[in-house]
Amino acid sequence: MAILEVIDLHKSFGKTEVLKGISFSMEPGQVLSIIGSSGSGKTTLLRCINFLETADRGKILLDGDVLFDADGEKLTAAERRALQPKIGLVFQQFNLFPQYNVLDNVTLAVKLRAKKEKNAASRKAMNAEIEEKAIALLNKMGLGDKLKNYPCELSGGQQQRVSIARAMALEPKILFFDEPTSALDPELTGEILKVIRALAAEHMTMVIVTHEMNFAKEVSDHIVFMDKGVIAEAGPAAELFDNPQTERLRSFLSNYN
């Protein structure tokens, strides 16, 4: 059964239609990369799925939940907030909270969610557990010695790893990345790719918008190629890169070689 299903999604900003009917679906544990030239609507697609924009038409389903249905009832703010932790998003610019150290960045949202617990003793136990899990997560990301550091004391690659840990701490069903390496120096992109590869090995369902073709080819099961608001071509990673069917994809790929 598909974990994510996007059906005929449309989105316009004013008079410009940015998404012109996007449909695709994903199986649990799959890694999907979205490639395409600048302005083709990749970020807008991620933002629509993550509630940062509201689409105009279409439907988005996540593991049995309706995230968006233009023909159905609009979700209330509370309903959206309840669904939000099931979807993780890693930003290009990290967007870490500068006033919190690494550990607090990762635990803030999880602790706030657990705060509804009234009993003070069990709340304390819960917070301890949350921290323990977060530390384990950060250790796995190679940040075990940076727990008490502030974002301004970290390299870009380290900051991006913290932001991945922050998203993972909420145990999302699916994790979205919007160009996770493009704000980094080329020599730092490797460490992010390593983390994503490790997550893929654990069968985390992921959608990655990227301009790193080699990485997309290596880590993804599936590729979606977007062009001017539509999916121009999609398919298994190996096939799509080795044997592009459309002229548009061929010319797009030729820019990278």
Binding site: Q84, F91, Q93, L112
Partner: protein, 225 residues
């Protein structure tokens, strides 16, 4: 003639009025300023428009004029002595209350613009990160945005607050007896030095404020925002 310590005691009485006005304006002005800043940033156009016009009027006219209007206009228009004659007994110092009211309104408008600038300077990505992590708008504001705003507005706030200490001397136009008014009474009796001597009180107060703000700035220097 008065001895040095007698002059000091009288001036301190006046300075207490100065500090009362200063502290109360600061407390109420900051709260009201935050509220006004939300009004001016509101996406409900009529509200943000009215708020901006209000800020324009308050910032566009002299504080001295505002003090005079608040103190005298109600009596001229309604035939009542002033706004506060029906207030509970402790608030019945009508001159001081008129001065405080004017100062709170005036300074909250300046504060609101500092808040607005600070809040709007925080990158939208911070709000979005909060939302994506499942925080409510209120949680995002208080847990994520506010401290970053505070850090950014410390320098302009410290400027404004130091100006406030000195602006309190304006209220003597409606006979609120703050420190300079006290000193003027000595001058009328032929003693000129107490008037100059008041400068020292302001200097000390501003010095303390400067140190305090330096401390806050240092406390918040552990992160970059």
């Amino acid at each position: 003639m008065y001895s040095f310590s007698e002059v000091n005691l009288k001036l301190l009485d006046g300075f207490k009025v100065t500090l009362d006005l200063f502290a109360l304006t600061l407390i109420f002005g900051l709260i009201l300023g935050l509220i006004i800043s939300f009004g001016s940033m509101s996406r409900f156009k009529p509200l943000s428009f009215v708020t901006k016009v209000f800020i324009w009027i308050i910032r566009g006219t002299p504080l001295m004029l505002q003090i005079l209007v608040v103190f005298y206009a109600p009596g001229l228009v309604f035939g009542k002595p002033n706004l506060f004659s029906n207030a509970p007994i402790m608030l019945r110092d009508e001159r001081f209350m008129a001065a405080l009211f004017t100062f709170v309104i005036n300074y909250s408008c300046y504060f609101s613009e500092i808040f607005r600038g600070g809040i709007q300077s925080i990158p939208v990505g911070q709000h979005e990160a909060g939302q994506v992590l499942g925080l409510s708008k209120t949680q995002t504001f208080f847990r994520v945005i506010l401290l970053q705003v505070v850090k950014r507005i410390v320098p302009p706030m410290s400027n404004e607050i130091i100006t406030l200490i000195k602006d309190t001397s304006l209220v003597r136009v409606i006979m609120v007896v703050e420190i300079i008014k006290v000193a003027e009474k000595f001058t009328a009796k032929g003693m000129i030095w107490p008037l100059f001597y008041t400068g020292l009180f302001y200097l000390v107060a501003c010095g303390i404020m400067t140190l305090l703000f330096g401390l806050i700035e240092k406390k918040l220097s552990y992160f970059k925002a």
